[in-house]
């Protein structure tokens, strides 16, 4: 059955096929249905006019180069993932203890007013008369 599909696929692609093999394939009902499906797919593909956006090829090529660069490092993927998670956790902790952040909080904000404390007074009574 598989050889019938290969014969018909080659026929659709315009490749040379053995006449005996083609007669045998067309004699098989399943192979004939497959031939019809091949033709339908080919027509659908021919009707599709959408084209890739400009620059796609360059971007694909760039990504491919990056992947090749990472691949050259030969770091196992689980190890790389663990390293990323540890870096994230560590980064969070470091941010809480960030010295510059504390210094900023220690300094008072700009004051809208500047007042003076009143000196302590032993008694609040302010005089009287008899």
């Amino acid at each position: 059955m598989t050889e019938h599909f290969e014969t018909l696929s080659a026929l659709i692609d315009g490749e040379p096929v053995a006449i005996d093999a083609l007669e045998a394939a067309l004699a098989n009902a399943d192979a004939r249905r497959s031939l019809v499906e091949f033709v339908r797919l080919r027509q659908l593909a021919r009707d599709e006019t959408a084209e890739p956006r400009p620059g796609l090829a360059e971007r694909v090529a760039l990504l491919a180069r990056r992947r090749r660069g990472l691949a050259r490092l030969r770091v196992p993927l689980p190890l790389a993932a663990a390293a990323v998670v540890l870096a994230l956790i560590g980064g969070t902790l470091i941010e809480v203890k960030w010295p510059a952040f504390e210094r900023e909080q220690l300094q008072p904000p700009p004051a809208s007013r500047v007042l003076q404390f009143d000196p302590p007074s032993p008694g609040a009574s302010e005089g009287g008369s008899r």
């Binding site: 220690l106 008072p108 809208s112 500047v114 404390f117 009143d118 302590p120 609040a124 009287g128 008899r130």
Partner: protein, 339 residues
């Protein structure tokens, strides 16, 4: 009329008086809290303490600008310790007017108090208190006194004192003025969020944040801060209390008390705690500031302070300590938000 009856009458009077309170002045200001003034008369039956003192209180919640009167009597039926108190007056009910007149006529001593509220702050109130004491034994002798009092929250100030002759059943009678503050019911659930900074220079500051309820006293204490320019590397420790009250207009009334303590940088913790406790005792005098702030407004308050310097007297050659102005002004910055 026995003591318990008098107390009941006084309470009724106070409630009725409060419910019929009339604004006596066009300058009455309602920020959302009132100054509570209580006139308390305490009679001490014996000087040996075997019989507990009895006391009666009359009170009124004043808005700034309001005025009310009170009356206190002592010496009914020949017993100085039989006292009465009534107010705020004048009574609107004829029955109470008749009762007050009868009380006044039957007492050996009668005090009339006039209270005029000046201002109510977050942690203190200021009022004018004028009073007059008359004695049935000496009708022409009238003791008058007038004073402006600023009392802190729950502070009690003695106003007048009468002693009995030795051997009498009553040791004496003391009259006190007491202060309290009452917030508008709509403000009682308010919470204040505080941010405080202490600073001894442009690079030496400490920050604290905490919360307090409406009118409650909140304590704070900063870590010792380096004092720029100090000879021996001394540090300054700022501590104190703050009271905040949200106002009806959305602003915040603040009363902040700050004390300071100079400590040696290598002082051990026990010594530090001992000195700190010594300074926060009942005799501790603090710098105070009352202010009204917008929510979130940062207000800087400069703390008067100086640095100790050793100098040698050119004449005697003796070393002495003198206070010199600090290199940088020291301050506490306060910021309050209402929740």
């Amino acid at each position: 009329m026995n003591v318990s009856t008098r107390v009941a009458v006084v309470v009724v009077c106070a409630v009725l008086g409060a419910s019929h309170a009339e604004h006596a002045s066009a300058q009455i200001v309602d920020a959302g809290f009132k100054g509570l003034v209580q006139i308390r008369v305490v009679s001490n039956p014996t000087s040996d303490g075997l019989v507990p003192p009895r006391n009666q209180t009359v009170f009124y919640d004043f808005l700034p600008g309001e005025s009310k009167s009170f009356m206190v009597t002592a010496g009914h039926n020949g017993d100085l310790c039989r006292t009465g108190a009534a107010g705020p007056m004048p009574f609107t009910s004829p029955e109470f007017q008749a009762w007050a007149a009868q009380e006044e006529a039957s007492a050996q001593y009668v005090w009339h108090f006039d209270v005029h509220m000046i201002e109510v702050k977050a942690g203190s109130l200021t009022f004018d208190l004028s009073w007059q004491r008359t004695s049935r034994a000496a009708p022409d002798e009238r003791l008058r006194y007038s004073q402006r009092l600023t009392l802190r929250l729950d502070e009690m100030r003695p106003i007048d004192l009468l002693h009995s002759a030795p051997g009498k059943d009553c040791a004496g009678v003391v009259i006190f003025a007491e202060a309290g503050i009452r917030s508008d019911p709509s403000l009682l659930a308010k919470t204040l969020e505080w941010s405080l900074w202490a600073s001894t220079g442009p690079k030496t500051a400490a920050h604290q944040s905490f919360k307090s309820m409406q009118g409650a006293v909140a304590e704070f204490k900063f870590e010792p801060l380096t004092v720029p320019g100090s000879e021996n590397g001394e540090q300054m420790l700022f501590f104190g209390t703050v009271i905040g009250r949200a106002r009806l207009d959305g602003d915040v009334e603040v009363a902040i008390d700050v004390n300071r303590l100079t400590v040696q940088p290598l002082a051990n913790q026990a010594e530090l705690i001992a000195r700190f406790k010594e300074r926060i005792g009942p005799a501790a005098a603090a710098f105070r500031k009352n202010l009204t702030a917008k929510p979130g407004e940062a207000v800087k308050i400069v703390v008067p302070t100086g640095l100790l310097r050793k100098t040698t007297d050119p004449v005697t050659g003796k070393v002495r300590l003198e206070s010199v102005p600090p290199v940088y002004e020291m301050s506490v910055t306060v910021q309050a938000r209402v929740r």
